[in-house]
């Protein structure tokens, strides 16, 4: 299976993970078309 980016979709989840994992967040606003 091809590797893909595992995107979060909720800001609160991303913030909690960023704090727990000591990482920055990449927030991508996209056009789903």
């Amino acid at each position: 299976m091809a590797k893909t980016i595992k995107w979060e979709t909720k800001m609160d989840v991303a913030l909690a993970r960023a704090k727990a994992e000591n990482k920055h967040i990449l927030l991508d606003f996209f056009n789903p078309g």
Partner: protein, 150 residues
């Protein structure tokens, strides 16, 4: 981004290892309003408190996205006066992606970070000299122009 950049193995590895990827539609509320979203793709680097440190608009190829994200991470450290971490991130960007469009700004920020952490003006002049030698037409060379006099 979906067709070229995000499927790239190096991009996947970098993002999964170094960042928390969060993707939302351009019209998703309340985030679109909170971040004053006007166009896509818009990529924003946030710290773990949700504070914005870098914003880019438009497409990035794989070999430019990673150094751009490193620059965003370095700016986050710089903004919070964590100069040692800013400098190590900038060093990695400059060393690993020497041909990137992000390098001139990284050189500028490297000089400023060294100055802010030591209060020695010499790194500012060195930043200008590097920029002038390697990127004479860069906007960052113009911004560093006053440092030639230090």
């Amino acid at each position: 981004m979906d067709a070229v950049t995000y499927p790239n193995e190096n991009v996947i590895e970098f993002i999964q290892k170094n960042m928390i990827p969060l993707r939302v539609a351009f019209d998703a509320q309340p985030l679109a309003t909170e971040f004053n979203l006007k166009w896509t793709p818009t990529l924003i680097v946030l710290d773990a408190d949700g504070k914005e440190h870098q914003r880019t608009v438009g497409f990035f190829p794989p070999d430019e996205l990673i150094p751009s994200l490193l620059l965003g991470i370095a700016k986050s450290y710089f903004d919070r006066e964590r100069f040692s971490e800013a400098l190590s991130t900038l060093d990695k960007l400059i060393k690993d992606y020497p041909n990137s469009d992000s390098v001139p700004e990284a050189l500028y920020l490297q000089g400023v970070s060294k100055f802010k952490s030591t209060h020695n003006p010499k790194p500012l002049k060195e930043a200008y000299e590097q920029l002038q030698a390697k990127y004479p037409s860069s906007e960052w060379t113009k911004r560093a122009y006053p440092y030639r006099l230090l």
